[in-house]
């Protein structure tokens, strides 16, 4: 969680320093929930994280360098500059890169789970996250329904951080609470306080376990508050002070830190040391990646097909004339 938070902070500062092209999206406030998903999954499972799942990615095993390289546009990153920021992943390793259309990744995880079933691979789970905004899309509906019909081992985590960009819950859904949708789909619901790491670990562990054991799709709804803008370009002025000071608005990192200290699992110096180590790791990664070159437009093959022999040349042969 801490590593993810430090990474986020660094990306934000690089963004403000004009070093990052395009948008920066942070998971500030969502670390406890996200890391619990990543930790509950195993190698061999499938994970399609969403925008604020930096912590979950790290827990699942995504290297820090992947994040830094994708944000800084290094040609050595997993997306090779062809996509950026949170649109990153390693599909062959079970980490699916998102596309921007919310809800779209759920059915893709379903398909992967179907494939594993065809192969008679047992005991695996597919997890994906959306925000409460994502639950409004048709894609979400179709995919959850599909997973339920096929009784797939899907864990669908909904992080209700109270705002979809600037849209509050009251303009996003009208049901009493999101978990109630589970009945409509015929799946199991779980509810959790997203600010409490201990609860998150427990709930996600349970949900993933049930899916793995054949319990069908599990809908986990977590309540928390988004502690940053929708993106770093957004100052989130629409989030009221009242919300920020409520229980919902607690910083899960602080909550976890206090718990650590209370339980004597670490002392203040130890916590400082954790942070220092995280900062060092991130700084080293950034320093390394800042030396790396971006993709060379003149060396790109500019071919979107795997079947090279079927691709067409539309431009005149001079590469300098057309990027």
């Amino acid at each position: 969680m801490l590593l993810s938070r430090v990474l986020d902070e660094k990306m934000a500062s690089l963004y403000r320093g004009g070093k990052i092209h395009g948008g920066v999206f942070l998971g500030r406030g969502q670390e406890a929930l996200s890391v619990s998903v990543g930790l509950a999954l195993r190698k061999g499972d499938i994970f399609a994280p969403l925008i604020r799942d930096g912590a979950g990615r790290l827990a699942f095993g995504e290297p820090v360098l992947d994040a830094v390289r994708t944000y800084l546009g290094s040609a050595l990153g997993p997306m090779r500059g062809r996509d950026g920021n949170v649109h990153r992943g390693r599909p062959r390793e079970g980490l699916f890169p998102m596309i921007s259309h919310l809800g779209a990744m759920i059915s893709v995880v379903n398909g992967a789970l179907l494939a594993r079933r065809f192969r008679k691979v047992e005991g695996i789970v597919g997890a994906t996250c959306v925000g409460e905004g994502g639950t409004s899309t048709g894609a979400f509906h179709e995919a959850l329904n599909q997973a339920a019909i096929e009784r797939l081992p899907l864990v669908l985590v909904v992080a209700n951080n109270q705002f979809a960009y600037s849209t509050p819950n009251s303009r996003q859904f009208a049901c009493r609470e999101l978990g109630d949708k589970a009945i409509g789909y015929g799946v199991t619901a779980h509810k959790v306080d997203g600010t409490d790491l201990e609860q998150c670990l427990h709930t996600l562990g349970g949900a993933v376990g049930q899916a793995r054991a054949g319990g069908g799709p599990q809908l986990v709804v977590a309540e928390l508050l988004r502690l940053c803008g929708h993106g770093e370009h957004d100052d989130a002025h629409y989030i009221t002070a009242q919300l920020k000071h409520s229980r919902l608005g607690r910083d899960c990192l602080k909550v976890a830190e206090e718990h650590l200290l209370r339980q004597h699992w670490a002392d203040a110096a130890g916590v400082r040391k954790f942070r220092q180590e995280a900062v060092l790791e991130i700084e080293q990664a950034v320093a390394l990646v800042q030396r790396e070159a971006g993709p060379d437009p003149f060396k790109e093959n500019w071919c979107a097909l795997a079947s090279r022999h079927l691709s067409e040349r539309f431009e005149t042969p001079d590469p300098a004339a057309n990027p």
Partner: protein
């Protein structure tokens, strides 16, 4: 033994299922029912567990196919009508088409689109969407016009590592028959000279190929020899064959069942104008459907899209220029 275009598609799917354990079929009513057009008749029984019924969720259907493809499978997705692929459009163009370019992991899905109009089918059961999909990089778009091509090109589509939009024509399903299945085929991406000629080139694809051939037959009686090119695949489009034909005849008429704006006919003419300008002895012409939604009433429908009749008129007009 003779088989229809539809049966050829069924045979191809059977062969794909039999030859490659990674192939499965997913779509609405494809299982025991055998598909709305019976394109998958008996396949669920022959290949248990590999022909799955989907809910009415085109987005989720395509999405699931993509997920399975990432895991190494080669799904064939049947959209009930091309017109209904639009709810799944996002997954096709933003996910399937971009996956390889973004991640280097290919997406070998085949999306079958029953396309084109039949009398009385109306605005939402008649569309030809090849140009819309062809516009997006990362997709292959096929438009087989013959029974043989329906068979061999579908097999090829399954074998290709990229997402293929397979536009099969509903009118041809039952109206086109062949004696037997082919044992070999032209490579995908190559157009075919369906009829050799001298005075004018008609470039067509899918059902319009047959209208063009009928028009050519009629005009042969007047001493005009029309060359007809069957594009077979829209993307990639075999510009070389088209240009070579225009080199022979000097006159080009491009015919398509879809709408004019930005359609296949526009693309063909753009290519010939750019690469074969000096071959044109007259301005290139095109014939498309009228720029309105496809009408339901047979009388309206009969003039809405090109027919042998209107093709003859257009060809005559071009010859007079």
């Amino acid at each position: 033994m003779s088989l229809t275009y539809l049966e050829a598609i069924r045979e191809a799917q059977a062969k794909a299922l039999a030859d490659d354990p990674r192939v499965f079929i997913y779509g609405q009513d494809v299982g025991d029912f055998g598909g709305a057009f019976k394109a998958t008749k008996n396949l669920a029984a022959e290949f248990p567990g590999r022909v799955l019924d989907a809910p009415i969720s085109e987005d989720a259907i395509i999405g699931a196919a993509i997920g399975a493809a990432i895991e190494g499978f080669r799904p064939i997705v049947e959209m009930q009508f091309a017109d209904f692929s639009t709810p799944g459009f996002n997954q096709i163009i933003n996910h399937a088409a971009t996956l390889f370019w973004r991640t280097n992991v290919p997406c070998p899905i085949t999306v079958r689109l029953p396309s084109g109009g039949t009398s009385g089918s109306g605005p939402f059961h008649s569309q030809s969407m090849e140009a819309i999909y062809a516009h997006y990089p990362g997709l292959i778009v096929m438009t087989p016009a013959t029974v043989e091509d329906a068979y061999s090109m579908l097999l090829e589509a399954v074998a290709i590592d990229d997402p293929v939009i397979f536009c099969e024509h509903k009118y041809l399903y039952y109206h086109l028959k062949a004696e037997c299945l082919p044992t070999e085929a032209m490579p995908v991406g190559k157009a075919r000279i369906a009829r050799a000629g001298r005075d004018l080139t008609i470039v067509a694809y899918s059902a319009m190929l047959h209208e063009a051939l009928a028009a050519a037959e009629e005009m042969a009686g007047e001493g005009t020899e029309i060359e007809v090119v069957d594009l077979r695949t829209i993307k990639p489009l075999d510009t070389d064959t088209v240009v070579a034909s225009v080199a022979r005849t000097g006159r080009l008429l491009c015919v398509g069942e879809a709408w004019p704006w930005g359609g296949v006919t526009a693309e063909v003419i753009a290519r010939v104008a750019t690469e074969g300008f000096d071959l044109l002895d007259a301005p290139p012409q095109r014939l498309n459907a009228k720029d309105t939604p496809i009408p339901y009433h047979p009388d309206l429908w009969s003039v809405h899209r090109p027919t042998a009749r209107s093709i003859v008129a257009a060809a005559r007009n071009l010859l007079r220029m």
